[in-house]
């Protein structure tokens, strides 16, 4: 009986502490394109991400222009030709953690997040797996997924086709803090 009570307190305790909104303005997202010709990497440290742990909903927004490349020319091509960031300044992801209960109860640390990824005005349904670390005052999501460039109407000119991968690897690290108004 005592064990059950303890378990009950533990679980409800977790739920209470988790029934809040968490957010970060300084999340990290990078993408990496690997081909035999060259590797291209771009990093963004200004990712906005909000999690509502009462519903499992997640909303992530990034500014395309905040992606920093090693080469200025690549950054210019990325913004002007590939993602047209003047016309589509943001990419967004809105989704829901499918196995929220397991995550909150600590039975699983891999969250399965299904949702809509919008890049360059085109929305695709994607499922992303994310390692989830819940600590007292922070919730960290960490993982990778692949994005097929052609899915989002990003046209790569023939001359650089060998330099840019057809699918790029997106890495994210989002360290959320409690959201205070």
């Amino acid at each position: 009986m005592r064990f059950i009570t303890l378990l009950f307190i533990l679980i409800t305790g977790l739920y209470v502490s988790a029934q809040e909104k968490y957010f970060t303005k300084q999340g990290y997202i990078s993408f990496f394109s690997h081909t035999s010709v060259e590797d291209i990497k771009a990093e963004n440290n200004q990712v906005l991400s909000i999690i509502d742990f009462s519903t499992g909903e997640i909303a992530i927004t990034v500014l395309m222009k905040s992606f920093a490349f090693e080469k200025a020319l690549m950054q210019e091509h990325f913004n002007e030709n590939y993602v047209e960031s003047d016309k589509y300044p943001k990419a967004t992801f809105t989704g829901t953690i499918q196995n929220l209960k397991d995550i909150l109860e600590g039975n699983n640390t891999i969250a399965e997040i299904k949702g809509k990824l919008t890049i360059k005005g085109i929305t695709k349904i994607v499922t992303i797996e994310s390692k989830t670390v819940i600590e007292n005052d922070s919730i960290t999501l960490k993982g990778k997924f692949m994005v097929t460039v052609a899915d989002f109407n990003i046209k790569i000119p023939a001359i650089v086709r060998k330099n840019i991968a057809e699918s790029v690897e997106v890495t994210f690290l989002l360290n959320h803090q409690p959201y205070k108004k």
Binding site: Q26, Q46, L63, S66, K71, L73, Q75, K90
Partner: protein, 144 residues
């Protein structure tokens, strides 16, 4: 006649090689084009944090057209400062208005970032990349 032809072929060869070298040089130069040097470039807009955030809040589309990729200089109080994995980020507020600018500092400014703390009043110049909950600047430097 044969000698003349030979001479002609020789000269054309030299010119071709020269042309190729110049083309290669230009391509390499273009490929390695440097990033905008915020340090040595004058700000396109020197503006208060309140005003720039308000412009984005009122009409993001117009503000995007006006400020994206432009060099912005703002002055404010540090309300948050982080330095993780060599990436310094400073959040600036003015007069506790709740309107804030988030500046991703350029790596060469890290030494200065380390010496700063919350509450310090600083002036920052960086490239505007848009608006989320704050106005975002990248490649930012500390002016004073």
């Amino acid at each position: 006649m044969v000698i003349l032809m030979k001479k002609f072929a020789y000269i054309t060869g030299i010119f071709l090689c020269l042309g190729l070298l110049i083309a290669l040089f230009i391509i390499i130069k273009l490929y390695n084009k440097p990033h905008v040097d915020v340090e040595s470039t004058k700000a396109d807009y020197i503006i208060s944090i309140e005003n720039i955030v308000r412009e984005f809040e009122e009409n993001e589309e117009i503000a995007n057209k006006k400020y994206l990729d432009k060099i912005i200089q703002v002055e404010g109080n540090i309300i948050d400062i982080t330095l993780t994995d060599g990436n310094g980020t400073i959040t600036l507020d003015s007069k506790n208005s709740g309107k804030t600018v988030v500046c991703s500092m350029i790596a060469s400014e890290n030494i200065k970032v380390v010496g700063l703390q919350k509450g310090n009043k600083i002036t920052v110049r960086g490239i505007c990349t848009g608006y989320l909950m704050d106005v975002m600047l990248v490649r930012a430097i500390i002016v004073n």
